[in-house]
Each structure stands twice: as C-alpha cells, then as structure tokens.
C-alpha cells in the first residue's frame, strides 16, 4: 500500500523527520506512538502533502506511485485520507456541499460519473448513522461551531463517506471522552477491510484498546526506534517511553 524509505522532512529549516522507514500493506493497521514533539503529526502531514514541510530526503510510494510528486488534492483522489488533529472550520459551506464536491472530484479522477443526488443522500444517511451524527450537523457548515468531539466525529464521517485506501488518523482520540472515543473507534473499525489500511497516530494507548493495531511503532526524535506487535503499546503505557530511550542509548 505505502512504502516509506528514509524520509527526512524539515519545517522552517528545522529537521523533524530524520529517516523514517515504514511499510504498510493492505489490510493492516499500524499505530505510531511517541512522546510530544517526536514527529508523529509531522509524518501524517508530510504524507498528506502539507506545504509547510519540506521533504529533504527519502521517498514514498503509494500504490506504486511516487507520492511526493503529487499535490495534496491528487493524493486525496488517489485514496489517501488524513483525519486532522485540528479539523478546519469553513463557514458557509455545508458538510453536504463539501462532501459532494469531494466525492465527485474523486470519481472524476477515476473516470466515474458524478454521484446522483439520491445515491449521495442515501450514502450520507447510512454513514451518519454509523458515527451517530445528527442530521442537523450534516446540513451545517463544515465544522463551524462544532464542539471538539463533533469535529472528530465529522472527520470519521468523512472517512466513511470517501472510503479511501489509506487512512491517516492524526491524534483522533485527543480531547475525546470515553463515549465519543467508542463512537469514533467504531467508525474506524467499520471502515477497516482487507482492501484498505490505516496508520493511527496517537499519544495514548487507550485508543488502541478500541482500534486494535497489527503493528506498533515508537517514534522518537524523528525516527522509528522500536517496532512490535500490539503488546508494545501496553508496555509503553506501563513503563512510559524512557526505557526505550535508554535502550536506544545502549544500542548506540
């Protein structure tokens, strides 16, 4: 699905990613954990093509294509989806208008016809139900005046609507109470299939109780310093990050 090789990235001349290597295959869920400032969100944003970051070295192939050559909207049309840590408000543009435009862009890209209004409406209803979204939220402007929880829920709703190949979830669990967390995780689990993959970026192990990953990677100072199965997350929860840091020092 996606293959990241020796990825380096900087912002304002400061190096944040210092050689990331990661392979994600269809059907897999990878969790990326790490302390604050380790580069987790940067990785998600670089993959989505945020202009603020400059890739200085390395390569990324997504479905066999060079991802770094593509603009953010091309990446999205190819099936890469980022659930934002801080979803953006767009006053005056309803969720429905927004999603319809997005779906049709993606369809056009794949040589498909535009979605019919009825089909679209049915799809919206079906997916909204899955994440417990109120109808009123759908007709409201994108994220405008939404609470933090509502915004995160809206990200997952969009994930289900667009049904991408690869979902990047950037701290989707932060700021959520336990009920909201369950709803959001359920949404992600409905999305999961043999054909797609997810990269879940999180600071807390809690999320991984609900979205069970196949692999867990620890990101520290811009590098993946340890990888393992889901049990690694539990170890991290118990012991914190220090033991890995120490381990790291020893190996160096």
């Amino acid at each position: 699905m996606i293959s990241i090789k020796d990825l380096h990235a900087t912002i304002d001349g400061k190096e944040i990613l210092r050689g990331i290597n990661l392979e994600v295959k269809a059907g897999e869920v990878h969790a990326i954990m790490g302390p604050n400032g380790s580069g987790k969100s940067t990785l998600a944003n670089v993959l989505a093509g945020h202009e603020a970051f400059e890739v200085t070295k390395g390569e990324v192939f997504f479905e066999g294509e060079d991802l770094l050559e593509q603009s953010p909207d091309e990446r999205a049309r190819e099936g890469l989806f980022l659930a934002f840590q801080y979803p953006i408000e767009i006053p005056g543009v309803t969720n429905a208008t927004f999603l319809k435009a997005a779906i049709n862009e993606i369809r056009k890209h794949h040589g498909q016809d535009e979605i019919s209004p009825k089909e679209f409406l049915d799809l919206m209803k079906e997916k909204a139900k899955k994440v417990g979204m109120d109808d009123s939220l759908i007709s409201r402007s994108v994220n405008a005046g939404f609470s933090g929880g509502e915004k995160k829920r809206n990200e997952i709703f969009q994930l289900l609507m667009l049904n991408p190949k690869l979902a990047l979830l950037d701290e989707t669990d932060s700021g959520l109470d336990i009920d909201a967390l369950k709803v959001v995780s359920n949404g992600v689990n409905t999305y999961r299939s043999e054909k797609n993959a997810s990269i879940v970026v999180t600071h807390y192990q809690r999320l991984l109780e609900y979205i069970v990953p196949d692999y867990v990677h620890v990101l520290y100072k811009g590098r993946i310093i340890k990888s393992g199965g889901k049990e690694l997350a539990l170890q991290l929860e118990e012991k914190g990050y220090d033991w890995i840091k120490e381990e790291q020092v020893e190996t160096v």
């Binding site: 989505a48 093509g49 945020h50 202009e51 603020a52 603009s71 953010p72 909207d73 990446r75 999205a76 049309r77 989806f81 980022l82 934002f84 979803p87 953006i88 408000e89 767009i90 006053p91 005056g92 543009v93 208008t97 927004f98 999603l99 435009a101 997005a102 862009e105 993606i106 890209h109 402007s141 969009q158 667009l162």
Partner: protein
C-alpha cells in the same frame, strides 16, 4: 497583473489559483457602433434646459432641474470617502446621449438590430421566449429607454412600468408627488448633479393591493464614450403592494474613466414591500488601474407606511471607484429595512460602500449583512450608519460586516457609525476580518478538491447569506459573476 507572491499563500499553486481568480479580463467589453445623438461636452444652464426640452418636460420639472443645478454650483465634491481618484472635470463630459432612431417604436422589429445584438450579448431577455420566462425589461441604453416589454400584461393590473421620461408625459402627477421626496435635490454633490441633468431611468408604480406578478428588471449600459450616465429611478409601492426589482449594470472597456451618478428613490406605503436587487459589474479598469467607471450613486428608500419593508441586495464586482450607501428611512411603525451586500474589489479597484438605516417609527427593524472581499491592490471599505431616533421605541438593528483578504497588498476597512437616541433600542454590530486561510485550502485539498475550487468554495461560503437573499435567477447570475470576477467556476 496583480502582484501575488507565492510566499503569501504558502505554495505556488495556491498563489496561481488566487491570481487566476483576481486577474480575469472584463468579459463585457465591446462597443456598439450606432449613430448617436450626443450633446457637445460641457455643463451649463443651457445644457440643463436642452435636456429638459429634448424630453419635452413640463415646466415644473425644468424649474426643479435648474434649482438643482444652481445649488450644485455652490457645493463641493465630498472628500471623506476612503477612495482616491484624479479630479473630475465636469466640463469634459457630455450630458446627453441618445441613439438616433425613429421616434415611435411599436415593436421589437423596429429596434436598431445593433442594439438588439448588444442586448443579446448582455443576455437581456428581450425576445419572446425570454418573455415567457417571466421577466419584464425596461432597457436603458445610454440614457434613453428604447423599449419596454410586458407593458400590457402589467397594465392590466394597473402597474406602471416605463421610462421616467415617459412617466413625465403620461403620469406627471405621480412623478411630481414623489420625485425628490426621498433624495431631495440638495442631498449630496452627485445626487444634486443627477437632479439637474438626469437623462432617463425607470419608473414603477404598483397600485394598492397589487402583487407584481413578475420580477421587473432594468439593464443599464454606458456605451457612448465620455458620456456620464445619470439615470434616475423612482419606484412607488402603494398600500399593500409588492414588487421585486432587478437592476444589472455593465459597461464596455475604455481607457478613460466614465462617470455614473445615478439616483434611485423607493417609496413604500402601508403594508407594502419593495425588494431591490442589483448586480453591478461596470468595467473596473484594467489590471494597472487604467480606465473604469466612477460609480457615485445615491440609493434610498423610504418606508413611509406602517408595516412596510424595503430590502436592498447587491452584488458588486465592477467599477473603478464605488461610492454608494443604499439606505432605508424607516418612518412607518413596524417597518423593516434590510441590506445584503457582497462587494468584491481586485486590482486597483476602490469601494467605499455600505448602508444607512434611519429608524424613526416605533418597532422598526433593520438588518445589515455586508461581505467585502479584497484582492490585488484594492481597497474595500464598509461605511454604514445606524441611527435610532428619539421616538423609535423598541427598534432593533443587527449588523454584521465581514471582510476577507486575498494577498497582502489589499486593504479592508470598517467604519460603522451608530447613533442611538432611544433607550429601548437594541443595536448589535459585529465585524471580522480574516484571510483565505492556507489551512482551509489544505483541508479542502486533502479531500480531493483542487485549490481553485477550494478558494471558490470558501469565497462562496463567505457570501452565502447574501446570495440567499437574491431572487433565484439573479442568484445564479451573481454567483457566476463572482466566479468570473474571481475567475473560474464556483464549486
């Protein structure tokens, strides 16, 4: 070309999209070659008399014009708006220009084919099939109304819809009663000039209890070179009546600046309502700021009767310099005034626009929604007055003025004046200024939407509250216009 630098927008692609949006060429720029009957340049009492004589006006009209002219000589051009333009030489304009034509026109066939072609290009629905679309048109071509459709259908209901020249012949008592009653000839420099030299315009009278069955519409077009256009519109909605009036404006491209100083007066009596919508895309000048229309317009409505309502909606993308404040005088108890505006400026355009809501009657209400978009090197100012008089018990006003900036060489300004003399009033004013955010564009990109569409979508969302107020067919046109003015199709 507007200077848009990549670093202002985070990426070259974004910069390009915004640049495309802000540098489109004027699409209504062509000239109609027909013979004109034009006065020589210059302004004096003889010109005023000449205009009046050409139009065979009653004596009182000429007297009124002359009073206005003499008063104008004592006035000074206002300097307070936040606009800059070279001094206007009022002697360098011709004050009357009419297409030479047969004096009486019985049907469309008699209209100069060149003229019809022009209207066609403008998309004015003059032909039969367009009539069926339900739009009656009074087309003003350089000051003189050439043809009016639908007159008969309207006549059946007692509705008068004609040029103001014709109204002066056919219904002088109505014109005499109302002209200058909302905008007196002493009102302001440009309105006074208009009062002296207005050449034509529309006249509408809706009788008691009649709901006008169709949207009335006028297209203005400044055509002849160096002619100032001074149209005067007067709309009267008698008790319990309703009318929706649409005004669209375009002008051909020219290097020199043209002056447009119109006056619009609206009067609503008890329980009557007028909805006045404008889409204005006068030629804004080229990207270097050369040429373009000076649009100095006085528009005012008087809600004379109880429960009456006047609503102004405007989408303005044109003119080099705009100076206009469509307002409402809320005299009747429970009367309502509304102002919904989108003003787009790019390149070197300057706009100083807003509204005046004067609350005089009890329980009067007004709403102001103003959206300003500045791009290129333009300056966009909102200037508004909300005045609650001593006797205007329980009056309400809500104002919202939002500005959006594209690029770092433009300016957005807000100057609201709020004057309250009554303790039971409630007045709320809010204003915000923001830029089209990089973060917003990235978010839309990430959902597969191109940068150009993303900008359009954000801009359209920003203006939505105003578009919602436009009549259906006009809303579509307005959106199109905004997209063209800011290039590309609106998502």
């Amino acid at each position: 070309m507007a200077e848009v630098r990549a670093e202002d927008f985070g990426s070259e692609e974004q910069a390009k999209a915004v640049e495309d949006l802000t540098t489109s060429e004027y699409k209504w720029g062509w000239e109609t070659e027909i013979e004109q009957d034009t006065f020589p340049k210059g302004l004096n009492e003889d010109v005023v008399r000449g205009i009046s004589r050409k139009k065979n006006e009653p004596e009182w009209m000429l007297e009124w014009r002359l009073k206005a002219y003499r008063h104008w000589l004592t006035m000074e051009e206002p300097k307070w708006p936040k606009v800059k333009y070279p001094e206007i030489d009022y002697q360098a304009y011709s004050y009357y220009s009419a297409p030479k034509e047969k004096p009486e026109l019985e049907s469309l066939d008699e209209v100069d084919p060149e003229l019809l072609k022009t209207f066609e290009k403008l998309g004015i629905p003059l032909e039969e099939q367009k009539k069926l679309a339900g739009v009656a048109v009074d087309a003003v071509f350089d000051s003189v109304s050439v043809t009016t459709t639908f007159k008969e259908t309207l006549a059946e209901k007692g509705i008068i819809f004609c040029s103001i020249s014709e109204a002066l012949q056919e219904h002088p008592e109505l014109v005499k009663k109302y002209i200058g009653s909302v905008v007196p000839y002493t009102d302001n420099y440009f309105a006074t000039l208009n009062s002296a030299v207005f050449s034509d315009g529309s006249f509408v009278y809706i009788p008691k209890g009649v709901r006008c069955p169709m949207e009335l519409s006028t297209y203005f077009r400044i055509n002849a070179m160096d002619t100032g256009q001074f149209e005067r519109t007067l709309i009267i909605a008698d008790e319990g009546s309703y009318v929706s009036y649409l005004e669209g404006c375009t002008a051909p491209m020219r290097d020199t600046n043209q002056l447009h100083a119109a006056v619009v007066e609206l009067v609503t009596l008890d329980n009557a309502e007028i909805k006045y919508s404008t889409v204005q895309n006068w030629y804004p000048g080229d990207s270097e700021g050369k040429g373009g229309i000076y649009n100095f317009v006085t528009k005012r409505g008087a809600c004379r009767g109880v429960n009456s309502k006047i609503s102004w909606t405007q989408v303005e993308t044109g003119s080099a310099v705009t100076w206009k404040y469509p307002g409402c005088i809320l005299q009747g108890d429970n009367s309502v005034g509304e102002f919904y505006s989108v003003a787009v400026t790019n390149n070197h355009q300057q706009a100083d626009t807003g509204t005046k809501m004067i609350h005089i009657g009890k329980n009067t209400k007004s709403t102001i929604i103003s959206k300003g978009i500045s791009a290129g090197r333009s300056d966009n100012s909102y200037r508004g007055l909300v005045k609650i008089g001593k006797k205007a018990d329980n009056s309400r006003n809500f104002s919202q003025c939002d500005s959006m900036l594209m690029g770092s060489n433009c300016g957005a300004h807000t100057f609201p004046y709020i004057e309250v003399d009554n303790e039971s009033a409630m007045v709320e004013h809010e204003a915000t200024t923001s830029k089209v955010g990089e973060d917003q564009i990235f978010y839309l990109n990430q959902r597969g939407i191109s940068t150009e569409d993303a900008v359009n979508m954000i801009v359209n969302g920003f203006c939505k509250e105003v578009f919602n107020e436009l009549p259906m067919e006009f809303a579509v046109e307005a959106q199109k216009l905004l997209a063209i003015s800011l290039e590309g199709s609106v998502g």
